[in-house]
């Protein structure tokens, strides 16, 4: 039966398990399920991948948070005995590495993945399977990084992992290797993701969406992807050198063999400083979306915001040596990097002022996401100002490697990036999951987090200026640090409580009533589609006429040039009925997962036995082979659903009936593979 159903229509895919056998590589059936747990392993939908990124980042945030609380427990009092110095060094190393690579970066990736296609009016990212591959490599990188907890010792040389202490002579265990291999793998994720999202931003924007009509979040995420594209390879090079050093005694950083250990520092910070902007720019983008929405007026100085973001992206490459003012650079280099570091404060200052300008004259609705966004502006300002005080390099020779620095970068990355991203979660939660988070719990979360954060990291300015060095497993009594360290520990546990409230909020909010498609009266395209958006995002690709397109479809200019609500509400970009034409969507695939799975085998193989690496190599080879032979859209996808139920999930409702006629008009049998023929003969 049903030649008519053999059409290149990919939406109606079943839950896979009952699928008809199709063998792209003779290995296993091409997955077709869009619901159920298995669909999460094979999905190429940018929204599902975004959710996977976010959930995984929150899981690692839990681990990194436990590590943070262990640090604070140890330092609550002088001569702390909670951890041994060896354990403490592992915990602070893993805290930093986890928060940077497995929390803030993937949270940013979660937002970028989920939002960019929606904000530019696309169905998906440019390379959906590569997108899935990015997520899986990130996950496996994170697992390799954390495997030390179970395999005899975690990395213990700091997230910066300076040579030569990272060499075999001083770090004979496998801890440093887990750090190195884990981040090498996670780096592939960032690099692939960067290429993918850059192409998406540049090539897949809806008609009419010029670059200067792109939402600011997408802009900042785009700048971030360019930073990743150029910064990650530098880290990767450094890590390859380190890998050769540790596996084969290459001696790139070994002074005994004539090398200069400062080489590592230069490479690491050439990556490491752009990395700071990689973490903060997406959060800047998020609050640049939130603040206008709740001020009910456009972002103040959109072009300045965009160009200051780009300026930060460029200048961020010229300041790395400010991490090395005490390392032994000559005074001329120190002077040059002092200057460049001073002036990177300018574009950042522009952003702060423009956010204030956006608030100014608005009619502010103080919601939970708005509170987090305003907190970012207020707290990032503190981090920016302490940053200027580090740019004064003679002062920095006092401040560097003290808690003053710890205070600085937590005001930037926690008070800034994380507050912004948590605000983003509250903001887009109704869009992503179709229901709001509870408001009251949200306020509890906000106030506990804000209070806890400032109690934890505010006093670190003081103990830092009082000369308390960082990365120290304990401190002596009588240094004047006791009181504030206790305050910091209390504050840190408040932060812990605030996130328990958040977790509770996520749990109890599941049964909240469905959210409106546009609950905040927002501005960009994603608010014009349903909540949550359908798999195909938009029934028809929206045509963009101006910045904040969705907003301008809702409001028109009144008599006195004031905006008033349009007489007719705008047509939504998606409806429950779905598009009239079947949307062209990529099909799920196992290969990204298989390919990513090969990498940890190679990593562990290099450490333990090359046989394991060979297994990984075979997996990678097969996956690349299978992937390249697999069409991105399964020609047979969706024709085995006839008679099955339970495949509605994200699939387009009512499509099969609607399109029976369409295919009748197109007598194109797509039964080209033997499997299809088999099925047809059934």
């Amino acid at each position: 039966m049903a030649l008519t159903e053999d059409r290149p229509e990919t939406l109606e895919l079943t839950a896979g398990d009952e699928a008809v056998v199709r063998h792209p590589l003779g290995a296993f059936t091409r997955p077709s399920g869009m619901t159920g747990w298995r669909s999460w392993l094979t999905t190429v939908d940018h929204k599902k991948i975004g959710i996977l990124y976010g959930a995984t980042a929150l899981f690692f945030f839990f681990i990194g948070g436990i590590e943070a609380l262990l640090i604070r427990a140890q330092l609550a009092q002088p001569d702390g005995q909670v951890l041994t110095p060896g354990q403490y060094n592992q915990v602070f190393t893993m805290h930093g590495t986890t928060m940077v690579f497995l929390v803030v970066m993937p949270l940013a990736a979660a937002f970028a993945n989920y939002l960019i296609p929606l904000q530019v009016g696309a169905r998906d990212v440019a390379f959906p399977r590569l997108n899935a591959f990015s997520y899986w490599t990130f996950l496996f990188g994170g697992i390799v990084l954390n495997s030390g907890w179970f395999l005899g010792g975690s990395p213990d040389n700091g997230w910066f992992n300076y040579a030569p202490n990272s060499g075999l002579a001083y770090s004979p265990g496998n801890g440093i290797d887990f750090w190195n291999m884990g981040l090498l793998i996670a780096g592939i994720a960032s690099l692939v993701g960067a290429v993918n999202l850059i192409v998406t931003c540049l090539n897949m924007r809806a008609p009419g969406m010029t670059l200067m009509r792109m939402p600011v979040f997408t802009w900042m995420a785009l700048v971030t992807q360019f930073l990743l594209l150029f910064a990650i390879p530098v880290l990767t090079v450094a890590q390859f050198l380190l890998m050769f050093e540790r596996l084969f005694g290459a001696g790139f950083f070994d002074p005994e063999m004539g090398a200069d250990p400062l080489l590592w520092q230069h490479l690491f910070w050439i990556f490491g400083h752009p990395e700071v902007y990689i973490m903060i720019l997406p959060a800047f983008g998020i609050v640049s979306e939130i603040i206008p929405v709740f001020s009910r007026k456009p972002l103040f100085g959109y072009p300045f915001m965009v160009f200051s973001g780009i300026a930060i992206g460029f200048m961020g490459w010229g300041v790395w040596a400010h991490h090395m003012f005490a390392s032994g650079l000559g005074p001329v280099s120190v002077a040059a990097f002092s200057l460049s570091t001073m002036f990177i404060a300018v574009p950042t200052g522009v952003k702060i002022f423009n956010w204030v300008g956006t608030l100014w004259g608005g009619k502010l609705r103080l919601t939970v996401p708005m509170a987090f966004a305003i907190a970012l502006v207020a707290q990032f300002t503190v981090g920016g100002l302490s940053g200027v005080s580090h740019a004064v390099s003679p002062s920095d020779t006092q401040q560097t490697d003290t808690y003053y620095i710890v205070a600085h970068f937590h005001y930037v990355l926690f008070g800034g990036a994380l507050f912004g991203m948590v605000g983003g979660l509250y903001f887009w939660w109704p869009k992503i999951f179709g229901h709001h988070l509870r408001d009251r719990l949200g306020w509890w979360h906000f106030w506990l987090m804000a209070l806890g954060f400032n109690l934890t990291f505010g006093p670190m300015h003081i103990v830092g200026l009082q000369g308390m060095p960082r990365r120290t497993a304990s401190y002596a009594a009588g240094m004047g640090w006791d009181f504030w360290n206790m305050v910091e520990t209390v504050g840190s546990f408040l932060i812990g409580v605030s996130f328990l409230v958040f977790a509770y909020n996520i749990l109890v909010s599941r049964n909240n009533p469905p959210a409106e498609p546009d609950p905040w009266d927002a501005r960009s395209l994603e608010w014009g589609t349903t909540s949550p958006p359908p798999v195909w995002n938009f029934d028809e690709t929206p045509v963009v006429h101006q910045l904040d397109e969705w907003w301008h479809r809702k409001y028109t200019e009144g008599d006195d040039h004031r905006l008033v609500l349009a007489a007719e509400p705008p047509t939504p970009f998606a409806t429950a009925a779905g598009p009239s034409e079947p949307p062209h969507l990529p099909s799920p695939s196992y290969w990204p997962l298989v390919l990513a799975l090969g990498l940890p085998f190679i990593a562990f193989g290099l450490l333990y036995t090359y046989w394991l690496a060979a297994v990984g190599g075979v997996l990678v080879f097969l996956a690349v082979y299978g992937w390249s032979l697999e069409p991105s859209v399964d020609p047979a996808g969706g024709h085995d659903d006839h008679g099955h139920t339970g495949h509605t999930g994200h699939a387009m409702p009512g499509a099969s009936d609607d399109h029976a006629e369409v295919t009748d008009e197109e007598p194109v049998a797509v039964a080209t593979t033997p499997e299809d023929t088999t099925e047809v003969s059934e």
């Binding site: 110095p85 040389n157 001073m342 200027v388 003679p394 020779t397 009082q466 060095p469 009588g478």
Partner: protein
């Protein structure tokens, strides 16, 4: 309103909170410098901090004001005026901060070079960093004016200097990167293997200044501390004389037995005692030079009090009480510990 109160309070409190940073009992507080170079740095910090506080108050004030003033009234559905930006204003707040930063830069640049210049006249000390203690060597060459004679002086953890004289340090590492830091006397300088770095110190008043390794260097990084002891002229001369007086080998009693044991147990394979156990090359010391051990107050990276007999005995029983310590001594009987202690006590 909660937001307002909160940030208002913070804005008011912050400068106050910073003042408490100048506590009297904070021996590493670099906002209370005690030496020429540290004071130069502090003189830069003061105006920068003042500017930062001013900017902080302005920005946070604007945020608080905006949040109070522009809150939407309930049931007010009318849109505010849709302002898209203000080019002149934005150019203004691009240029103004740049000018402020240019002023800060102009103040900063000369100090960078001043702090790097080699002083014309200075006490020169070689500093060796290694896991997890500091070694110091005062060579005779160029140091005649400070009373250092041919053999020079070797000591550990406590750096002794005369007041009001620049001290020019030559920093080298025997293993990984460390960072030499005595906050009240100057900023920090990394000690990098394979490289020779120089750094300056100067104390304006006699006293004992606390410091520690500031670059993560491994397991016991937190326990690689140091002291700088600044002497006035008379006490400097006395210290130099003591340090250069020959060591007397104990000839009888427990101390003499300890002297034998020091060699038998292999202590002398790493620890040098000038005039007695000199097999160890006098550069790149593998373990602290013990020549005048009991003139010091602290040992093992300055974390244990030398005046407390129990501390040193506990150390001889188990040097791993400091995690990652490289000292290997094997199990000693209490009797052996007594003898060793008796010998070490004569090193003064």
């Amino acid at each position: 309103m909660q937001i307002v109160r909160r940030w208002g309070r913070l804005a008011g409190l912050l400068p106050l909170v910073f003042l408490t940073a100048c506590a009297k009992d904070a021996p590493q507080d670099f906002l209370q410098p005690e030496g020429t170079f540290a004071k130069k740095i502090d003189a830069l910090w003061d105006p920068v901090f003042a500017i930062a506080v001013a900017v902080f108050v302005i920005v946070e004030g604007l945020i608080v004001f905006a949040v109070v003033k522009f809150r939407a009234k309930p049931d007010d559905d009318e849109l505010p005026e849709q302002i898209h930006g203000n080019f002149r204003l934005e150019i203004g707040w691009t240029i103004l901060p740049a000018l402020v930063l240019a002023v800060i830069s102009a103040m900063t640049l000369p100090v960078i070079f001043e702090l790097t210049d080699e002083p014309d006249e200075a006490l020169k000390v070689d500093v060796w960093g290694q896991k997890y203690w500091w070694g110091y060597e005062y060579g005779a060459e160029g140091n005649e004016a400070y009373g250092i004679e041919d053999a020079g002086i070797r000591t550990a953890n406590e750096l002794h200097i005369p007041v009001d004289v620049p001290v020019y340090l030559t920093l080298q590492s025997n293993d990984v990167i460390h960072s030499f830091w005595a906050p009240k006397l100057n900023g920090k300088k990394d000690v990098v293997p394979g490289r020779v770095h120089n750094w300056k110190l100067q104390a304006d008043e006699p006293g004992v200044y606390s410091g520690q390794c500031a670059e993560f260097c491994g397991t016991s990084h937190a326990f690689m501390r140091l002291k700088v002891v600044a002497h006035d002229d008379a006490s400097w001369a006395e210290w130099v004389e003591t340090m250069q007086a020959p060591v007397e080998t104990p000839s009888s009693g427990l101390a003499a037995e300890g002297y034998e044991l020091f060699a038998q147990k292999g202590c002398a394979g790493c620890h040098q005692v000038d005039g007695e156990y000199e097999e160890v090359a006098d550069t790149a010391p593998a373990a602290p030079n013990l020549t005048k051990l009991f003139t010091r107050d602290c040992f093992a990276g300055c974390i244990y009090d030398l005046e407390d007999r129990n501390e040193l005995e506990a150390w001889l029983r188990d040097p791993q009480r400091k995690a990652g310590s490289l000292m290997v001594i094997g199990e000693l009987t209490e009797d052996e510990i007594d003898r060793l202690y008796a010998y070490l006590e004569t090193l003064r």
